[in-house]
Amino acid sequence: MSTGFHIVVCGGIVPDPLQTLEPVSTPAGPGLKNEMMLPAILDPWASHALFEAAHLAKGAPGSKVWLVSLGPKAKLQQVMMSVAQKAPFELVVCDGPAGGFTESAEVAGALAAAIEAIPGLDKTKLLLFGGWQSASRGTGTTMQMVGERLGVTEQFQGVDRLTVGADGSLEIMERVEGGAYQVSVCQGPPAVLGWATGELPEPPNNPQVGMQNMRLIMPALQKARPAKVGADGVTFAAVELPKQRRETRIVKDTPAEDIAREIVAWIGG
């Protein structure tokens, strides 16, 4: 039995988490102040999915990894400069907005269309990877809809581990409530896996991989197909930062015994 997988990773870009974010109104709906100027990264959970995909492909001869990303071309080019050094993949670009106020159903439509158009993609070998939520919209709904559009109804979310059996079956550990895992076995691809953090650390930069990837990334960016994605039918009545600022009482130069006593009383109160 062939152990080769065709792994498609869906991953968008998000503002660097250390940036200050401020919502603004734009003619196209809510957005972020200076959105195009904010440094961006590959979505953290999608990054884990990409690292897991590369690791899986390395151990399964005949496998191939594609990264399908929806975002403004210029921002994607910046982000790919660093992502390309982490793992070997072929980039597929949808040129459109990457913000957190777009509609997941519309994003899913654009991603599914891009995946359908990948030359040589064998859907019987397809493992559709992505983050279980984005760090922008954060709904955790896009991957399921992409899977549905591609006819893939074996789906798993909050995945932290995938083990391929000798018979090609997939044993999958999904996060469920209370720090527990659900373990399922799927007979094989095609399947959708929305990854949580997985088990792999971020790979170190590999300039050779970076150079190899970049040979294909620049043409992919040039060939990017425009994706019309918005939030049709949605009305944003307000988008605001949380205003609550607490009056913090500072307790210092106080014996540890007194602090401990106060904490114990508070816990029990």
Binding site: G178, G179, V183, S184, V251, I259, A260, I263
Partner: protein
Amino acid sequence: MEKILFLAHTEADGSLSRACLEALSAAKTLAEGLGAGFDAALFGADVAAAANAVAGCGAGTFFCVSGQAFAQARYATDAAAITALCQAAGAAIVVCADDSRLSRAVPGAAHRLDGRVDAHVTALAAKDGAAFVQRWHYRQRMYAEVTRTQRPWFVTVSGGVFPAYDGAPGQATVQAVAVAEVATRTTVKAILAPAADEQTIRPDAALLFVAGAGWTKKQADGQPHTPEAAELILGFTTKAQASLGSSKSLVDMSGEGQTVLPFLTHLHQVGQTGATPRHPKGLATCCHGEEPHVVGWRFIGERRAVNLDANCGWAQGKCDVLYVADAFAVMRLVNAMIG
């Protein structure tokens, strides 16, 4: 008039989870606000007991999908059940919990019904005859108030936002809904849960204890005291029956193979790429960082912190009380006092 549907699955013992009972309160609240009635839709191995348990909730009709195929959480069967239930009910707005089972399957059902989903909603209300939801964007950095025209509109409600429904049980008349046989290649094998005495993630705990990276740093004597940190942290969470959370940096250290605090996993992580749990109280120790990291306790009620920096961005303006003290010394005493 909008047709509102409360959607839930049963647990292994045939009951409804607390999260589902909270979603029932949300559905009732919305229906009352819109001046509409609501129906209920349940699926699972056998839903009779669950339907009877909430028979007095005011739902018009109880639509039910029962059978062994729906006993376990599995996308293909769950999505088919949800689709059939919503079609049978003719639902316009579907309200349910955002637990792992429904979060996995609801988006697929929404796609099949040409609907839309607003997930992890933290407020739900009627205004001027229309339903509005509040949900957070950019990992709890900002929130939006949203309404939409598409139907069916699936709304998954975050835990801890609404009170759990607590009405008297009764005898519900259920309307069985048939689901065409679902082809699936997936078998659920097991649920792996930590042993009760090793459990450190307790969603229902009154207190969240957040451990920061400072626990593993060099202390006043120039040496790290990691084993003692582990003993103090686990000692406290066990005695206080608190839930344990951790900052990203501390989780990453253990994930990178260092023998730091081995009981910490990514499941404990709170903040930007972790969880944002809801607990009435939170105690953060040795946590440092600025606004982006603080989202981990965005939904904690009363907040206190112990660390050595009075100006720390984690605490200033974010917590009610900041104790500027050595967390080792304080927690050693706290553990002794709570026995």
